[in-house]
Point group: C2
DNA sequence: TAAATCTATATGCACAGTGACTGTAGTTGA
DNA sequence: TCAACTACAGTCACTGTGCATATAGATTTA
């Protein structure tokens, strides 16, 4: 885990924070604004449940402040003005670190499941023994 | 996700909370007390970093209160008294739900990585084009 | 035997982050 | 014109965490 890139949350990054990674990934695909990102998040198959609007906007502002994304205000010919975000080189680097971190997390979940399935197996064996008695 | 089993945190279970799942899994293997669980957590390959003692004890008390584990005070012939925890049937059921949830999370991380690797590929292609010009 | 260290549990405190709610404001359609 | 939608942002209560600290018996070491 690279602390420099992901901020001051060395080891204990809440999975909520992973919304940052998801936003970076979406912005990597194409530049976008907050409202659209919320919809794209809800469609994305790497995110479950509703992404709270407040959380999305807050994280976007913070990532902007941190230089991971850059924004400029856009007054379109229709609809209210909106803030267009795009990935910066730092954001790209951060996304890379996130991907490494997520790969690690995935491995840990796999380890958990492996141990669990062994446990489940031992349970059903025990049940069979009870049935025989 | 089954709300009934994991408490009132329907969709937004912080991964920190996953310490609950880890504790349940460890207790499924063998009954244990807090101090030992902290050490076993730090050895387990499904957990990175140090498990904070306060967090472990707090979660154990809560899970006890919620009926996922049961405890009884034990005054051994050596060392200070300690609280021995063991998995209840409810805890076993909760662990099962956790395992399902974690399998889902794993799938989501895989989806994320898949999208990311595609992005990375498109990046390196773009770089090659720049090199050619 | 006194001091330090280990085992073992638990609480207080400050802080971060979230979700629900509310506010603001322009736009579109019935 | 009034509701619904787009779009962003702030307030507030709440949860959970990590760090520090308290407590206390047991064991080791100087």
């Amino acid at each position: 885990m690279n602390e420099e890139m992901l901020g001051k949350f060395e080891l204990t990054i809440p999975i909520e924070r992973s919304i940052q990674a998801e936003l970076l990934l979406l912005l990597g695909h194409k530049l976008s604004h907050g409202y659209e990102l919320i919809q794209r998040l809800n469609e994305a198959d790497f995110r479950s449940g509703e992404a709270d609007a407040a959380t999305v906007y807050r994280n976007l502002r913070r990532m902007d402040k941190d230089g991971l994304i850059s924004s400029h205000w856009e007054v379109g010919e229709s609809g209210p003005g909106r803030r267009l975000y795009e990935l910066t080189p730092q954001g790209e680097a951060s996304l890379k670190v996130w991907a490494q971190y997520i790969a690690q997390q995935k491995a840990k979940l796999e380890n958990f499941l492996q141990v669990y399935y062994l446990f489940e197996e031992s349970l059903s064996k025990r049940e069979n023994e009870v049935d025989l008695s």
